[in-house]
């Protein structure tokens, strides 16, 4: 098993506040890694550092052999990392199909052309992805008109269009009812397995975490608190005290 994502000593401070503090992480190819931690632990900031939205103060990030530090988001996207956002971040006025089409167009480098019919390209490919995530029926609807759960599916579809090697999901089931949560994670697991994508995700729903992750990294106050398989994490006393709130922890 070779490492796909190697993170070494990555830090980020805002003013005096250390949001991410010397984080090390190695994610293997094909792994499903969950990052958990209380609010403010630095998970979202960490993901922003990985995808180029923020630049770290120190440390390095490698995708395979490629050094990612200093790359702007659009370069990192073409390098093989796709991210879906915590707050739904889709193209509202475009139809569902167009949302995926534009991601496909951008990925294939065809968007600089000033001639031709933009929306008539990549239709079949887009429809295929929509079918994969279960949105085929809504293809012609403006994305803003869809329900929250369906919009999350669009998020996933857009992320898949780039054929990423690493898929980063920031709280994919946030704000969902239990039934929707189950369906969404099943979709994620299926897609990730079929396309052989490495998955890195953050979550608050422990059922989701334990049901999907191969390994779990626990963050607290910007630092990595613990890391291991779900069983190891479940049994770790510090983790339980800080996060899972075990009843036998001393207060």
């Amino acid at each position: 098993m070779s490492a796909l994502l190697t993170v070494r000593g990555v830090s980020k401070s805002f003013g005096g506040f250390r949001a991410v503090d010397s984080v090390d992480m190695t994610v293997e190819v094909g792994e499903r890694r969950a990052v958990i931690g209380p609010n403010g632990a630095g998970k979202t900031t960490f993901f922003s550092l990985l995808t180029g939205l923020l630049q770290p103060d120190g440390g390095n990030v490698q995708l395979g052999e490629l050094e990612l530090i200093g790359m702007p988001p659009h370069r990192i996207a073409t390098a093989g990392i796709s991210r879906a956002f915590q707050i739904t971040n889709i193209f509202g006025r475009l139809t569902v199909r167009q949302n995926v089409q534009i991601a496909l167009l951008a990925a294939s480098g065809r968007t600089h052309r000033l001639w031709g019919n933009g929306w008539s390209e990549k239709v079949d490919e887009a429809d295929a992805i929509l079918a994969e995530v279960g949105l085929a029926a809504a293809a012609d609807t403006p994305a803003a008109a869809l329900s929250h759960g369906d919009q999350r599916a669009i998020e996933l579809a857009i992320a898949l269009a780039h054929r990423p090697r690493l898929l980063i999901l920031d709280e994919p089931t946030a704000g969902m009812a239990p039934a929707e949560t189950g369906r969404t994670m099943e979709l994620v697991r299926r897609v990730v397995a079929e396309r052989k994508i490495t998955l890195l995700f953050s979550e608050h729903d422990m059922e989701v975490v334990f049901g999907t992750a191969d390994r779990i990294t626990v963050m607290n106050q910007g630092r990595v608190l613990a890391e291991g398989t779900p069983d190891v994490i479940r049994g770790d006393p510090t983790v339980r005290q800080v996060y899972l709130g075990a009843p036998d922890a001393d207060r």
Partner: protein, 342 residues
Amino acid sequence: MIARTARLRWVGWIALLAVAIPAPLVLSELQLFTASRIVIFGLWATSLNLLLGQTGLVSFAHAAFFGVGAYSVGLITLHLGWPAVIGVPLSLLSGAVIAFLMGLVALRAVHLYFSMLTLAISQLLFVIVFTSYDITLGDNGIHGIELPAFLGETSQVYWFVIAVAGLGILALGLVWHSPFGAALQAIRDNRLRASFIGLHVRRYELAAFTLAGMFAALAGSLFTVVNKSAYPGLLDWTQGAVPIFIILIGGMYRFYGPLVGAVAYVVLEEIVTRETLYSNLVLGAIFLVIVLVAPTGITGIAERVTGRLARRGTRTAEAAPPASLAETLDNQLEPISRDIET
């Protein structure tokens, strides 16, 4: 369904040309003048909509580019003695250069700061034109520009305007429907996400800004050909709101929206200025009502109506056509996207 609307579109354009071309045979001089104005404003507003409706950039600088085009014609006749019509293709170049330079600076900011930068730089250009008496004749403006012999009649000027503006609108239409145009729409909807799917957003915005400036300048050059004059007032920022209102009236999410808006605006403006001294009061009130009540413009209203009619014709929910963009926007309670810019 897509093929049918495309066919309808072509029919619409051909019908428009069929009406527009023989117009001088039927219309009076004054009416031809109005028609030219409509076409020029239509081109002007369509070029702005490349930024506004398609890329989501609210630019107040479009009066400046219009003025650049106008003065392109004025200055070459005044200082170089060249025929005025040379200024028309020249305006594409001057518009492109000025827009590119302005975009380099203005696009460093986003959203409202960008808008205000465009306003500031546009006013800067206005002041420069206004005070450079030696070059531009300052406040007096350049008047009495002579046109070549083949543009001696009003109808000939009109046909010239239709031809040039038509080509400009065609070019803008190509851009609107191109893959580049599709990328601009994604940037409009979600700048952040657009960069995450691999688009170098600022570069696209700069390209769009330059193109928009080029064709706004083209419109300005045509204006000067028709009116035979160029004056600083054309660059004033309050003029910059005219194409924005045209787009608002017509609807910003359809390519032909600004053209519809140009017809409505010019007609409205001429009626209002004829009937009352306080045209700003009336026009301002009308604009206010439109902003509050019908922000998706005429094309938006049309879409809502046809959408409702289409839905009434179907029996089952499944067969109903999807909600149109205009209807979706009307039901939208929150802004379409929220940028997570840290």
